[in-house]
Amino acid sequence: MKKPSRSERPETRVGRISRREFLFGGLAAALPANRAGRADLRIGLLLPPGPLGPSILRGAKLGIAEADSLAQMFGKRIDLALSPVPGREGVASVASRLIKEGVSVLVGGGGERAAEALREVAREGKALFLNVGSASDRLRTELCDRHTFHVHASVQMHVGAAGHWLIEERKLRRWAVLSESDEIQRAVVAFAEARGATVEEGAQAVSGATDWRPTLERLRAAKPEALWIGLRAQTVPGFLQQYGRSGLAGELVGITPDATGPPKLGRAALSGIWPVMWHHTLEKYSARDLNNRYRRRFGDGLDGANWSAWAALKLVGEAMLRAGTTPQALLEYLESDPPFDGHKGRPLTFRKWDHQLRQPMYLAQARKAAPGESGPSGVEVITEVPRGDLDAIVLPPKDGGCLRL
């Protein structure tokens, strides 16, 4: 067997993040003697390249600190094995090595391909994979697997959150969609068809496009009440600038399901409504407490990717205490509808037919400027969606769902 190169070798000790940093004050002093021994559960964290990696890492640091804190109270120990992923092709080999080294749970998945690779490794190694970085609907349908659980909200949930709000709150049912992603376009069309809205104009955006005038003219003719955009982060500023100049008046909805949040643009440049999993200004239902804990540790606000990673680590830690340490025990526990407290004010559970964590989403928009205020806008949450049944933002499964449990 080929020996992995140095760059592929995972960092399998917590050591790179100081152990002290993980522990909560006096709890360390109360450890039972057996804590010096082998960890009761090892979790492998695979960090994707790009901006998502550091965001996932920070959320995971808070998550493992809290999970380990709880474990310590009962004489248990959880270790987190960290590994940056050397390109998409390296994901599978790093994940396989982690499993051979005793990791029972893989956490990661920056983008669909990486998540797909982790799903495959977890399935073959009979480990668990908690997806915290890919919104791909394909992973939750045709590629679903019993060993994979999705903490990160899907494309359909992002679309469903905004779609539900457009239909139920704004009464806007005539839509257009402009997307560089087939998946986002499909999700918008499917949600519209299922909920009595229509898509007047569906355009596949050309990647790297800079001149949006022809598209905007078509939109002017179609006169949609709402325009959905699913564009890459680097494409969004140019489009929003030309859209703003065009004088088109429909509601704008931006979908960035794999990003850490809406594009960080200046106040004048960011427009529209953006569905997010979390926001650092949330206060209700103990969200303030979680935001404060994160802020105390890192000095800034918790975003959606931070939240996903925090939630995954916390979930696994709690599952270990309540169910046991083997992947099978953890899997059966997560499938048994345990209510997870994600600081969103209601119990969050994994849906049986696709293993997606059911959760409320939030709609964010650029914060209005105070008189004389300039500079980056930041965003603010305008509402939580849905208010009632969490399945109101997803479509019913075809043929009973991928997993047919």
Binding site: F24, L70, M73, P339, D341, P347
Partner: protein, 321 residues
């Protein structure tokens, strides 16, 4: 007549002459109004609001001294517990209580206040007379509810984010053990004989039953009710019923403590939070945060017999004896 009794009679006469109602002459209920920064005083006999007491910023958890003369109110935005003279109906002092105090409990003799410190993941024992923290222990993350066993020996502190109850010995003040309970535990209530404790879990929608002597969870009661988020809990003086407020469920669950079964749900105001019973257990008060009122329930009939307006964000309630 003994000298002490003479002093008491004279005291009552002077109070009456001054128009000051002596503490304990008749029971009053006190309701903290989180966003109105005041306490609503309800006359239990007439079931009407008779006064409001400005108390400080963000009052939530409440407690009464055993003699009923002092009402304590946790002031979340002032890092203190206000001390209210119940006869004069005014704040007479403040006790430092750490960052953002939310809930606390008084020892049966009234000499100590036990408080949770959310930001510090700790619980503290405060000497009431000295008005200072005399001991502190580490508990789980996001500590919240505090309750003291009837014999004063044990303090139970719930920690919302670790889903734990820290069982703390009062003297010396140290953690004896920690139990895992339902998701997001909020409050604890003991049976009058101190043999059982009931712990509500808001996200788990459960009530854990703890054997106090064994320090072990011996049962879990699930509220199979849409939207039920268990928060407040009290046990009837006869020990046969426990009452649980269900928050966004807008009801009070009535539990048979012998069978651990839910007997009924009583509709009350919107978002019932704190609960309190009269000494004889005949009336149950619920502080309703969203409807900003108090539902008064006749525990024999299970019916709301009065609704009394309170202030914005009605949160906690205690009843004088």
């Amino acid at each position: 007549m003994k000298p002490g009794a003479i002093v008491a009679v004279l005291g009552c006469a002077v109070s009456a002459a001054l128009g000051v109602r002596p503490a304990g002459a008749q029971p009053f209920a006190y309701v903290s109004n989180e966003w109105a920064n005041e306490i609503t005083v309800i006359d239990v006999a007439t079931k009407t609001a008779v006064a409001t007491i400005p108390v400080g910023k963000r009052p939530r958890g409440l407690g009464l001294s055993p003699d009923g003369r002092h009402l304590y109110a946790a002031l979340g935005s002032e890092d203190a517990i206000a001390v209210v003279d119940t006869a004069a109906r005014k704040v007479i002092g403040r006790i430092p209580a750490g960052s953002d105090p939310e809930m606390f409990a008084l020892s049966p003799d009234g000499s100590r206040i036990y408080a949770s410190n959310e930001d510090a993941n700790s619980a503290s024992a405060i000497d009431v007379r000295a008005r200072r923290v005399i001991a502190s222990v580490t508990v789980g993350i996001e500590p919240e509810g505090v309750a003291v066993s009837p014999d004063g020996k044990w303090i139970y502190v719930t920690s919302e984010s670790t889903h734990t109850v820290s069982i703390i010995q009062s003297r010396p003040f140290k953690v004896a053990t920690t139990l895992l309970v339902g998701s997001r535990p909020r409050e604890t209530a003991f049976t009058p004989d101190g043999s059982r404790a009931y712990v509500t879990a808001e996200i788990g929608s459960t009530i854990s039953v703890i054997d106090v002597r064994k320090k072990a969870v011996i049962g879990t009661i699930k509220l199979e009710r849409e939207g039920a988020r268990p928060k407040g809990v009290v046990v009837h003086p006869n020990g046969k019923r426990a009452y649980v407020s269900t928050g966004s469920g807008n009801e009070v669950a009535v539990i048979d403590t012998e069978t651990s079964r839910v007997l009924s749900y009583i509709p009350v105001g919107r978002r019932p939070w704190g609960l309190a019973l009269t000494r004889d257990g005949r009336l149950l008060f619920t502080a309703n945060g969203v409807s900003e009122d108090v539902s008064i329930i006749d525990t024999e009939t299970g019916q709301v017999v009065a609704t009394v307006g309170a202030g914005k964000g009605a949160w906690g309630v205690v009843v004088g004896q």
